[in-house]
């Protein structure tokens, strides 16, 4: 999944290089997808025994995790299941003078709205800023 995330990030970068505002929403969608893939990879690592089950074999108390891994796109719910990841981001942020947990949550919210609700066309300079923020964050999520 991490390889897929890198490939999608590369796709976003190449799309960003066009400088074409008509492609900006595509860049934003792809970088949000990178975050989703990396969070799902972390969930699979943590909840491996649940993630490898077929859907019919999943117990009731495992269903939410399984759905988050394979079916759902609630990035903040994924993050809420990994308090240790958030704590690690917080600790790194305190060393770097940067609020990584908040930045990750900002990106998740931006992707949620842009991907699902907004008919607004983004401009490429805005998409480029998202790209740079995800470039930094994705290294911390691997």
């Amino acid at each position: 999944m991490r390889t897929v995330a890198e490939r999608r990030f590369d796709d976003a970068e190449e799309l960003g290089k066009t400088g074409d505002n008509a492609r900006a929403n595509g860049v934003a969608y792809l970088v949000g997808f990178v975050i989703e893939i990396l969070l799902k990879a972390k969930l699979i690592e943590k909840f491996h025994q649940i993630a490898i089950k077929r859907q019919h074999a999943v117990k009731d108390d495992e269903r939410e995790i399984w759905l988050l891994v394979w079916k759902r796109h609630d990035l903040d719910d994924m993050l809420s299941r990994m308090a240790e990841l958030e704590a690690a981001l917080k600790k790194k942020g305190e060393r770097d003078g940067y609020d990584y947990p908040a930045d990750l949550k900002k990106l998740c919210a931006t992707w949620t709205i842009q991907a699902r609700y907004s008919s607004r066309t983004m401009l490429m300079n805005e998409a480029a800023q998202l790209l740079e923020r995800v470039r930094k964050l994705k290294e911390l999520l691997k």
Binding site: S80, R81, P101, C108, T110, Y117
Partner: protein
């Protein structure tokens, strides 16, 4: 965070931006997701909106409680579909 703390943030968001703020718990772990709809966001990019709403969260919440802010969705009215 407690429900009281969550409501305090929702109220602070409404006070700052006008409009309507909503909150909902996220998977019963003391985390809350927030959504605020305000005309003030119409002139802002998505990340500008995020930076502004998180300033309010920083001013309102303690360093521990702020980790329980799961997400703050910031909508302009035009973002939301209209039911006919």
């Amino acid at each position: 965070m407690t429900q009281q703390q969550a409501k305090a943030l929702a109220d602070a968001l409404t006070q700052r931006f006008g409009g309507d703020a909503e909150l909902e718990p996220v998977n019963d772990r003391g985390r809350y997701r927030f959504a605020i709809t305000s005309k003030q966001f119409e002139s802002m990019t998505q990340m500008q909106r995020q930076d502004e709403v998180w300033k309010v969260a920083d001013q309102t919440m303690s360093r521990d409680a702020i980790l329980d802010v799961s997400m703050i969705l910031a909508f302009a009215p035009a973002d939301l579909p209209t039911m006919h």
